[in-house]
């Protein structure tokens, strides 16, 4: 019987290796798999390349992973946060690398990685510094840059409900990057607010079909990043 449930976040992230590329779902705190990220901090893998739209808040979750010096490179669209100086401090000190990618190109590069598309063309960044060094090509009189697909060794994502097959549904705008990240990682690990019976999720409304999900961890009452930040918490 297929059952993708793992006993704990620690078990689910145990084989993330030094130097791995890890996609992390979430846009700000919405959809951030904070328990999985904290398990990765406990686990200690280093020199990671992390793909997320941002660089985290305060001293918990993604910001804490960066602060713990486990991230060698960030691929993101917006590495500044009002309430965190973790990334800027390390970046200015030359201790972390940054690949800045426009938000829509980031989403599409991840989708392409999951869809078996090695490269595509987009008008985004044409004529800007972010197009420098990229191949430009004209289609129907307009210039486009070539962008390549992004894949990862692991994806850490958060959903509201899952079943044992790994079918997932999300909550509102907490969906964001997670469905495309699930397709683009060799191993996708999802934390779910609830794991329900197979068949309990309407097949019309499943956003991530189970084929894209390898491991599940049920986290009934996940931490909320903004509350932790407001409380001045840090991890570990």
């Amino acid at each position: 019987m297929i059952d993708k449930q793992n006993a704990s976040p620690a078990a689910a992230v145990a084989d993330i290796f030094d130097g791995a590329t890890v996609m992390v779902g979430g846009f700000g705190e919405a959809g951030s798999p904070i328990e999985l990220i904290h398990a990765l901090i406990d686990q200690g893998a280093g020199n990671l390349t992390v793909i997320n739209n941002n660089t985290g808040s305060g001293h918990v979750g993604l910001a804490a992973l960066i602060e713990n010096k486990q991230v060698g490179k960030m691929i993101c669209s917006f590495p500044r946060t009002a309430n965190s100086t973790v990334f800027p401090d390390l970046y200015r000190a030359g201790e972390i690398e940054l690949e800045l990618v426009p938000q829509g190109t980031l989403a599409e590069r991840i989708r392409a990685g999951g869809a078996g598309i090695p490269a595509f063309y987009t008008a985004t960044t044409v004529g800007t510094p972010l197009a420098e060094g990229k191949e430009t090509r004209c289609f129907d009189g307009r210039d486009y840059v070539m962008e390549v697909g992004l894949k990862a060794d692991f994806a850490l994502i958060k959903c509201s409900k899952a079943d044992r097959y790994g079918n997932l549904v999300y909550s509102k705008t907490a969906r964001n990057f997670s469905p495309v990240m699930a397709t683009a990682a060799a191993i996708t690990i999802a934390q779910a607010g609830a794991v329900v019976e197979a068949g309990a999720l309407d097949p019309e409304v499943i956003i991530t079909p189970g084929i894209f999900v390898d491991r599940l961890v049920e986290i009934f009452d996940p931490e909320q990043e903004s509350r932790l930040v407001a409380a001045g918490r840090s991890y570990p």
Partner: protein
């Protein structure tokens, strides 16, 4: 120098821009003054707001006690969803943007050039942390780009210039600019003043602009 005697407030700039949002438009509003535009769209027009983090049909801020950390906008502020809203993932959200489905985007800026070039993501300063978000996607994909901005920087430098000195967000993308002094169109001939704020003269606007202005006929 001709003295400024009045000009538009931030709310008035947003209100003026709102007049140009037609009934039935799909609109993406940037962070800052552009967000305020939604408050001023005339009540007889129905406008659908897109938030690039996966929401079409964004409503106003939630009432106290109804906040939901899973329901935020692109500026990561908590919002609401109207009846008839839809959620979707980030790749689908940028299909709407890159695929030219959003009608209008209203953005803030650092500089706009008379050829429509926009620079609103980086000063290019060596110690700056570069951050672009969805700005380049929006200007590349949305047909009509409106900019709302103070006419000059806090230190009095013009933001409307003959050529951007900051790194570009996009080339030739801006259609219309709403400042505290005037409404200005980007035309094939350059900046054209289509409306002056109350008490503001054309000459005053010209003096505070880093490019030649054209009088609207």
């Amino acid at each position: 120098m001709t003295g400024k005697t009045s000009g538009w407030s931030r709310d008035e700039m947003a209100q003026r821009a709102a007049l140009d949002i037609p009934d039935g438009a799909y609109v993406n509003l940037g962070i800052g003054i552009p967000e305020q535009v939604a408050k001023f769209v005339p009540a007889d027009r129905e406008v659908i707001y897109h938030s690039e983090n996966g929401l079409l049909g964004m409503g106003p801020a939630p009432a106290a006690g109804h906040e939901d950390p899973d329901l935020i906008n692109a500026g990561k502020k908590q919002v609401t969803a109207i009846p008839g809203a839809a959620f979707f993932h980030h790749a689908d959200s940028f299909v709407m943007i890159r695929g030219h489905h959003i009608d209008i985007c209203v953005l803030g800026t650092m500089q706009v050039a008379e050829n429509g070039d926009l620079a609103n993501w980086s000063t290019g300063a060596p110690d700056a942390i570069p951050a672009v978000g969805g700005a380049m996607d929006l200007v590349a994909g949305v047909e009509t780009i409106y900019v709302i901005t103070q006419h000059c920087t806090r230190t009095g430098e013009p933001k409307l210039v003959d050529a951007c000195s900051y790194p570009l967000t996009g080339q030739g993308v801006v259609n219309r600019i709403y400042t505290d002094l005037a409404v200005i169109d980007v035309t094939a001939e350059g900046f054209e003043v289509v409306e002056l704020a109350p008490g503001i003269s054309f000459d005053y606007v010209q003096e505070h602009t880093g490019a030649r202005l054209i009088r609207c006929n």
